[in-house]
């Protein structure tokens, strides 16, 4: 290939699309800590108090028509950055997905949720994906799906969560609001399972 194209060999993969790749004898680690720090700095949250959770349990956010819209452009910009960091951070997938639904009219309550995510990010900047080697194992694909039921209290739609493992390694995940309104938790689970398949 080097004959055909003017190429440069950058050695072992270490940094790609903002993702830091560490390769060692036992496996590969992906992280975006530099990117996380950049988000925190640009959001002015570099000195915030770290938080242990990305979102409060049972927090119910909804679109508030009567409330004042607060700095929508900045909100969308932060969410955009956070969505990219979900590429190596499955733990943020749900909370970022939830706050993304209020990009149109972000209010103070939604900002609070975003700040909680950023505070969690501050506590966990170095988190990432770890891929372990297991040469003896034949890699098999294993998927899990789950759903809540009517997690959105306004439109009564549920949220699907999906993770896929390849061997012991988590390779793909998603947290997505379902497109249809389901009438039971069982039906919601079916929808999630079908989405995973």
């Amino acid at each position: 290939m080097q004959k055909k194209f003017n190429m440069s060999d950058l050695g072992l993969l270490s940094y790609y699309l903002g993702i830091e790749v560490k390769q060692d004898a036992d496996g590969i680690t992906l992280s975006q800590s530099a990117y996380a720090k950049k988000i925190l700095e640009s959001a002015g949250m570099w000195n915030c108090n770290p938080s242990a959770t990305p979102m409060e349990a049972w927090l119910k956010l909804y679109k508030r028509v009567e409330d004042e819209v607060v700095r929508p452009t900045e909100y969308r910009s932060i969410i955009g950055s956070l969505r990219y960091i979900v590429n190596t951070r499955p733990d943020l997938a749900y909370s970022v997905g939830v706050v993304s639904t209020f990009m149109e009219t972000p209010c103070q309550a939604h900002w609070g949720a975003v700040k909680q995510i950023l505070r969690y990010l501050k506590a966990t900047v170095d988190y990432g994906c770890r891929y372990e080697s297991g040469a003896a194992l034949k890699p098999f694909l294993l998927g899990y799906s789950d759903s809540d039921f009517a997690g959105d209290i306004v439109d009564r739609k549920s949220t699907t969560g999906i993770v896929y493992f390849l061997g012991n390694n988590l390779v793909t995940w998603s947290s997505q609001k379902q497109k249809i309104v389901t009438l039971s938790s069982c039906e919601a689970e079916y929808v999630a399972g079908a989405a995973a398949a």
Binding site: M7, L30, G167, V171
Partner: protein
């Protein structure tokens, strides 16, 4: 030094006289804040300018300030009292900022301006880190070719780009057909910095004004597959599982390799016009920002990899696998 001097003259130009701005050498310099140069702890330029600016008002106080600083218990004498340096020296004084009438002090008041030689004598050389930090102010990309042509670094970057285009035999000079339109070219300049903000590279890229292309005339299909982030992760997981190493490669000016199937004419690149300039260039290979450039590059890479014995997976366009070698087409995605 050069930068600061530059800033000084600029600052004095657009400010009302006598009001200093940060990062100029021509700072008001109250005698009672001056440090003894022999102690060696002269503050660096940036903070010096800042603090002097803040305390500049102190100068409004009359000549009494000189005795006052003596009474503060400091024993050092200012190394250059105003009278000594402005009147005692016989050579022509070169002012960083021309003195205003108010500051020509024949009556023993502190002088409000310092000469360049005063400053140079007492300014310690900055370390490279600080200097490069200041330099960033002036190291932005030029906005036009004319501007870029004036700087050596950008001229070299443009020549390097032209060279790689010529090596690729990207175009032939030709005449424009009667019913054809040529697409304009433009230069895009970028300063590449490392994570510390140091300038590592000046990059110039010749791009076509792809927005002027008409579908069906200048291009047909534009779809090009790109790798999904999930694909990349699966790949890395597989590599980890098998204990393989992942190497990173980069095709330089990748899009310039793509072969064009359509006939596209472009105008001559600004700044590099050959002859009278009424000739146009008929493209053989793709240029950046052409609508079909990603597709052309992908087709080319696809062909070359298949020829090398890679096997395309039926459901994943961007992974090609050969025995023992795992390769992902990074090049498809890193466009700039």
């Amino acid at each position: 030094m050069e930068l600061g001097g530059d800033g000084g003259s600029r600052g004095s130009g657009d400010q009302t006289q006598g009001v200093p701005v940060p990062f100029t050498f021509t700072v008001e310099y109250p005698e009672d804040t001056e440090q003894n140069p022999t102690t060696g702890d002269q503050p660096d330029l940036g903070s010096h300018a800042g603090s002097d600016t803040v305390s500049g008002d102190a100068l409004a106080s009359p000549a009494g300030s000189i005795p006052a600083h003596g009474s503060m218990g400091e024993t050092h004498t200012p190394p250059h009292t105003p009278a000594a340096s402005s009147q005692g020296s016989t050579h022509q004084v070169q002012w960083a900022t021309p003195p205003t009438d108010a500051s020509v002090d024949t009556d023993g008041q502190p002088r409000r301006y310092r000469t360049i030689s005063d400053l140079l004598d007492h300014t310690e050389e900055m370390t490279n880190v600080e200097y490069s930090g200041l330099c960033l102010v002036g190291a932005e990309a030029p906005s036009s070719v004319e501007e870029a042509m004036t700087a050596k670094s950008w001229r070299e970057a443009m020549q390097a780009e032209m060279q790689s285009i010529e090596q690729n035999q990207t175009w032939d000079v030709s005449d424009l057909l009667a019913n054809q339109k040529a697409i304009g070219l433009k230069w895009v300049f970028k300063v590449k910095k490392d994570p510390d903000g140091k300038v590592v590279k000046h990059k110039a890229r010749l791009v076509a004004k792809g927005y002027a292309q008409v579908q069906g005339v200048d291009f047909d299909e534009v779809f090009a597959p790109v790798a999904k982030i999930e694909t990349v992760r699966v790949l890395l997981a597989l590599a980890a599982q098998g204990g393989w190493e992942v190497h990173h490669m980069d095709v330089k000016s990748a899009f310039l390799n793509g072969d064009l199937t359509e006939t596209v004419f472009v105008k001559q690149p600004p700044g590099f016009i050959v002859g009278s300039g009424d000739k146009v260039l008929k493209l053989r290979k793709a240029l950046y920002e052409l609508r079909q450039a990603p597709r052309a590059w992908n087709a080319k890479l696809d062909r070359e990899l298949l020829a090398l014995g890679f096997v395309r997976r039926w459901n994943m366009q961007c992974i090609e696998e050969a025995p023992k070698i795992l390769s992902c087409l990074w090049g498809c995605m890193s466009m700039m």
